[in-house]
């Protein structure tokens, strides 16, 4: 999420004349307004990042203690040892993001244009699951996907589980402890992050534009392709980022819904940090994850070519 929150475009020093004129208290107002955010960022982001960075190049052992030795090999070690986890995390997050888009777009569209007086009720329903904790919501999926449950029974009867099994997404006629379960869990847990920005950018589209397009003999599909979708792109970009970034660092879904073959990089970092107590490797892994996300997001934003995020 950090990549999303650049400090508001405050007037940097370059613009401001160095000596504030007498009685120029107003010039300082923007800085006072920024102060809480800057302090917040400093204490909860910049300082921890600094310590994390220093930890990531330390070496030693948990018994002897760790010392700053500029041990860059932590990074190459983490990279080679956990390449599989990195790849898996990004793939699962990407799949979940795509699913969120496919599920979320029609819903946001419906709420924005067709819901009428139900609009607010529907929006509350989108957010309602957030009233319970993330953990509880994920645990609930264990009941939904249970081996003996109706969902697995129905999918099995339709032979859909055979199809997903051939694709390597499920195993032995079950859903729990398979890649599909983890991706479903991620999709469900991050869906509102996709729907809300999509809704907010769709809702701003003037319906008169649709009418104008129709007056010019555009078919509904063409209206969507040429008018609605391009105008909703900021929402698509914001939604995909808000889904992809937290999903790639998530570890709860893989932990509760996955088998040993589905563990993501978040699980590995958590384990290295808390159980193995190899703090430098864990810190290096965290930085690698951040770097990977940053690169992917940068390339994506360049390609999507949007300045305005929401």
């Amino acid at each position: 999420m950090t990549a999303l929150a650049p400090p508001p475009p405050a007037a940097p020093e370059a613009d401001a004349p160095p000596p504030p004129p007498p009685g120029g208290r107003r010039k300082l107002t923007p800085y006072w307004l920024l102060l809480p955010a800057i302090l917040w960022l400093l204490v909860f982001f910049a300082v921890p990042m600094f310590f994390q960075a220093s930890t990531s190049v330390q070496s030693g052992s948990s018994g002897e203690g760790y010392e700053l030795t500029w041990h860059w090999a932590n990074y190459t070690d983490a990279m080679s040892e956990y390449a599989e986890h990195f790849g898996r995390s990004i793939m699962y997050a990407a799949a979940a993001t795509l699913l969120c888009l496919v599920i979320g777009y029609p819903l946001a569209y419906m709420i924005a244009f067709r819901a009428g007086r139900w609009r607010n009720v529907l929006l509350v329903m989108v957010i309602a699951p957030f009233f319970t904790s993330f953990l509880i919501r994920t645990l609930a999926w264990k009941h939904i996907l249970s081996d003996g449950g109706p969902l697995v029974g129905a999918l099995d009867a339709l032979h859909l589980l055979d199809v997903t099994a051939t694709l390597g997404m499920t195993e032995d006629d079950r859903l729990l402890a398979t890649p599909l379960a983890v991706i479903c869990g991620l999709t469900y847990n991050f869906l509102p992050f996709m729907i809300l920005p999509l809704y907010s950018s769709l809702e701003r589209i003037n319906p008169a534009l649709h009418e104008a397009a129709q007056d010019l003999y555009a078919k509904p599909a063409t209206v969507f392709r040429k008018v609605t979708f391009p105008l909703s792109l900021p929402g698509v970009v914001a939604g995909t980022l808000l889904t992809f970034i937290p999903a790639s660092g998530d570890y709860i879904n893989a932990k509760l819904l996955g088998s040993p073959g589905e563990q993501m990089i978040g699980n590995a970092i958590q384990r290295q940090f808390l159980n193995v107590r190899d703090y430098p490797t864990a810190a290096a892994m965290s930085f690698l994850l951040m770097a990977a996300i940053l690169i992917i997001v940068t390339v994506y934003i360049r390609r999507a070519g949007t300045e305005e995020l929401v």
Partner: protein, 412 residues
């Protein structure tokens, strides 16, 4: 040793023996290791993360105790680990009685959810020599051992705990992580056993770890625990190895055996406490389980069975300790002593259903519930006591090495 003056003669003697002659005695090797590490640690501590043995010396210094002036106590425990009133969940009968009898006001927090996470939470304060804001913390034995090694636990005064001295079951007295129980008092014992859902196994009995790892009929329906000690310990026992004392090769062999079961998809998952729901529904047919959970599951689901494997089972304790810089050590000792009165211990055991470490609690428990008193998972019988083993005490480096190898197996 003046602290023993108030104790009955034979008990004082026994206690003293265990401190001076037993494992508790500070051997020359241990002393050298401690001072050596402390010297090295001081150099390293200048930058980076301090060594684990760093605090060994300073831990012995006495922290001021404000118990006399401040009649209060802050207690951090696991969730659902103390008796509550049947009608009012906010009432805790034994704890309320303690407060009334002693006049000490207890602030009871259920904020321990995971040993390593809670350790991560309080580590910065302990490292900086600050108070954690807690007077009693309940940690599993291996974690309590880590705090003791770091010098982050306060030595308890047996004079303040006559019940603990007289009533602690003998087998808990000389724990590997705290020889002579100088720093910790067990709150409850935990046995790791094999549990299965007989509906999900279609009536088939699951009696060994071997079956979890290889039985074809359990393929994709067997689970083990994410706790390294439990899973590897039980596998070592199953292989006929001694989990109280094993070599790295033996550890590797056990891990390889588990890895094989992972690779051929025999094992479905590695779980924390969350195996409970899956075993209940039958998604997991058989798994390693903690005895207290099993007892509680059996109340609701008659299909749940447990087995003490013939090759032995693993047991551990959850210990109460007073962290360094805690303000109310004597009050903490008073609480520990209170729970070692067999009557109070029985009341607690009747509710939490874990192994009771207090001698004489069986008779008191029988007055509350005959069935519970006869349950070997709460009051172990001779046979069960004999089959129990404790996982080897590991130093920090060994722990890191073993945890790293184990993490690879569970996929993280």
């Amino acid at each position: 040793m003046d602290v023993f003056d108030s104790l009955p003669e034979p008990i004082a003697k026994a206690w003293e023996r265990s401190l001076t002659g037993g494992k508790a005695a500070l051997s020359r090797r241990r002393l050298l290791a401690a001072t050596g590490a402390a010297a090295g640690g001081a150099a390293l501590a200048a930058c980076g993360i301090p060594a684990s043995d760093d605090g060994k010396k300073k831990g012995e210094s006495k922290d001021p105790d404000y118990s006399k002036k401040e009649k209060e106590l802050i207690f951090s425990n696991w969730t659902l680990y103390i008796d509550v009133d049947d009608k009012d969940e906010n009432k805790r009968p034994t704890l309320d009685r303690f407060q009334k009898e002693s006049g000490i006001k207890v602030k009871y927090n259920e904020d321990v959810n995971d040993n390593v996470e809670f350790f991560g939470k309080i580590r910065p304060q302990l490292e900086a020599g600050q108070s954690t804001g807690r007077d009693i913390i309940c940690f599993s034995d291996f974690m309590a051992g880590r705090l003791i090694r770091h010098g982050w636990a306060q030595r308890l005064d047996p004079k303040n705990m006559p019940n603990v001295v007289t009533n602690m079951e003998p087998r808990f007295r000389n724990a590997a992580h705290d020889p002579g129980r100088q720093y910790t008092v067990p709150w409850a014992g935990l046995a790791t056993v094999v549990a299965y859902n007989k509906k999900a196994t279609k009536g088939r009995k699951v009696t060994s770890v071997e079956q979890l790892l290889t039985d074809e009929s359990l393929k994709g329906k067997a689970a083990m625990l994410t706790e390294m000690q439990d899973t590897v310990g039980m596998t070592l026992l199953d292989m006929g190895k001694d989990c109280t004392k094993f070599t790295e090769d033996e550890f590797d062999a056990a891990v390889a055996r588990i890895q094989k079961a992972v690779d051929n998809k025999q094992l479905r998952r590695f779980t924390g406490n969350d195996y409970v729901e899956e075993l209940d529904k039958g998604d997991i047919a058989a798994c390693l389980a903690w005895a207290g959970d099993v007892v509680q599951m059996q109340f609701e689901n008659p299909d749940i069975e447990f087995v003490i494997p013939q090759k032995g089972y693993l047991y551990a304790t959850d210990d109460l300790l007073v962290p360094a810089k805690a303000r109310h050590k004597a009050n903490a000792e008073a609480l520990m002593d209170f729970y070692y009165d067999p009557k109070n211990a029985a009341e607690l055991a009747a509710w939490v259903n874990y192994i009771c470490p207090v001698a004489g609690a069986k008779e008191e428990l029988a007055k509350i519930d005959k069935e519970l008193a006869a349950d070997p998972l709460i009051i172990p019988d001779e046979k069960m006591i004999k089959a129990g083993r404790v996982f080897m005490e590991l130093d920090d480096d060994a722990e890191t090495t073993y945890e790293d190898k184990f993490s690879k197996v569970i996929g993280a």
